[in-house]
């Protein structure tokens, strides 16, 4: 929708899959705008990237303003509304939104209590935050793919503005959360089992022997297996969520591109709209399921961290 002169499926997709990145471009950097004009920066400059290449060149110390912004906004909404329900002092039966909140809390609490053998006051709030926050972030996928970016472009007055609205299609967001969970896994493993216990868990199983010499020989094999297993937890957690949502978003985009652009206007709009709707209905399942899976695996991993083998 954005590249003014030529709109191809490829550029449409690429444009939609690029984050709005804020970062620092070094001095002497050559910027090329949409019209093809280039100018060289005299000083290093903190700015928004106009192209994917610029975003790449900004390096690590740049922010995806759109996904992080939506992520914080949605998380804050979750906290605001849930806190409002938590603050009320109703004696009787809850109504409306309060019901929904209590239903979710009860659901999360039940799952936590079913899985955790040890009581830990952190796990419940953690699971609730993950479940609701990820659900909200995933739900942004249901919003028609071009609606929010167009509004953002209109507000910014820049038709080339990159704007990704689904935070969970950004691996930075999903890894940010899974690394948080990973830190907690290590923290509780060490806290519950001690440094020695934690290292022992990594090195003395699954292969073990009564013979000390054999055991020492087995340590590298054990470590390799267990360490990869440990690292696989956050990576799979983040990639699963990212992959599902990214694929879902991509299918929305493909429907919009292929049907919207390839067919005559009226048929394309109608058929594309119908397909978008059907996929959105399917996608509701993915939205909730992935949030649930992320929450459940977090609880399971932390429960495992609490348990002695």
């Amino acid at each position: 929708m954005a590249s003014g002169t030529e709109l191809t499926s490829n550029s449409y997709l690429q444009h939609h899959l690029q984050n709005l990145v804020f970062g620092k471009l070094p001095a002497g950097y050559e910027r090329i705008d949409a019209e093809g004009h280039s100018h060289v920066l005299e000083h290093a400059e903190w700015t928004l990237a106009h192209t994917s290449q610029e975003a790449m060149d900004m390096g690590f110390w740049s922010l995806n303003v759109d996904t992080l912004g939506w992520s914080i906004f949605l998380g804050a909404m979750f906290l605001f509304f849930f806190h409002r329900v938590a603050k009320r002092h109703t004696e009787g039966a809850p109504t409306g939104f309060g019901n929904l909140v209590e239903m979710i809390v009860e659901f999360v609490n039940k799952n936590v209590n079913d899985i955790m053998s040890v009581k830990n006051p952190l796990i419940g709030p953690l699971a609730l935050t993950i479940f609701v926050w990820v659900t909200l972030m995933n739900t942004m996928d249901i919003v028609p793919v071009d609606l929010l970016p167009l509004i953002a472009q209109f507000i910014a007055g820049d038709s080339h503005l990159h704007f990704k609205v689904v935070p969970t299609t950004d691996p930075n967001i999903t890894f940010g959360m899974s690394i948080g969970v990973f830190i907690l896994i290590i923290y509780y493993s060490v806290k519950m089992k001690g440094i020695g216990g934690f290292i022992g868990e990594l090195t003395l199983q699954p292969f073990s022997s009564k013979n000390l010499a054999v055991q020492i020989v087995l340590i590298p094999a054990n470590f390799l297996l267990e360490f990869i297993g440990l690292l696989a937890k956050p990576v799979s957690l983040a990639l699963r969520l990212f992959g599902n949502l990214y694929a879902g978003e991509l299918i929305f985009l493909l429907i919009a591109t292929l049907l919207g652009a390839a067919l005559p206007f009226f048929i394309g709009t109608f058929l594309g709209g119908a397909l978008q709707f059907i996929w959105a209905v399917f996608h509701i399942l993915i939205v909730l399921l992935q949030a649930f899976v992320f929450m459940m695996l977090t609880i399971v991993y932390l429960a495992m961290a609490h348990e002695h083998h």
Partner: protein
């Protein structure tokens, strides 16, 4: 996949949000729900207790009514018995009174009879005397013949 500081931003945000939930959302909600649960459980228990008490009270009231009925029946039968007794007594009294009256009457009659007889005797005696006087035309010495006259009157 293009990793940048967004990852750190999200990690920090995540930590803050979880902390906020832990501090200001989760415990309050859980407490509210537990309190309500306890209240509902109490209410149900109270209702059950109330029903139990009601059933007990009903049982008791039925017992009381039965007891009352029994007592009433006893009282009625006692009254009946007493009534019969009183009637019997009255009958007996009446009989006794009647026989007493009869006796009195009889004795009175006897007395009257005796008196009448006495009178008759006296009169017969005097008649006899008068007759004898008439017959003898002579005055019989009352004193001399009193013994004879007495005998005659005795024979009457």
């Amino acid at each position: 996949m293009n990793f940048n500081a967004t990852l750190i931003g999200q990690l920090v945000t995540f930590a803050i949000f979880v902390w906020f939930t832990m501090k200001f959302v989760w415990p309050m909600l859980l407490k509210q729900m537990e309190e309500r649960e306890a209240r509902i459980a109490d209410g149900l228990a109270a209702a059950e207790k109330g029903q139990l008490e009601l059933a007990e009270a009903q049982q008791k009231s039925i017992e009381e009514i039965n007891k009352g009925k029994e007592q009433a029946a006893t009282i009625i039968s006692q009254a009946q018995k007493r009534h019969d007794e009183i009637v019997e007594e009255a009958k007996d009294d009446a009989k006794a009174e009647a026989s007493r009256i009869k006796e009195t009457a009889l004795s009175e009659i006897e007395q009257e009879k005796e008196k009448a007889r006495q009178d008759l005797r006296d009169q017969v005696a005097s008649l006899a005397i008068a007759g004898a006087e008439q017959i003898l035309m002579k005055e019989v010495d009352q004193a001399a013949h009193n013994e004879v006259l007495q005998k005659i009157s005795q024979q009457l």
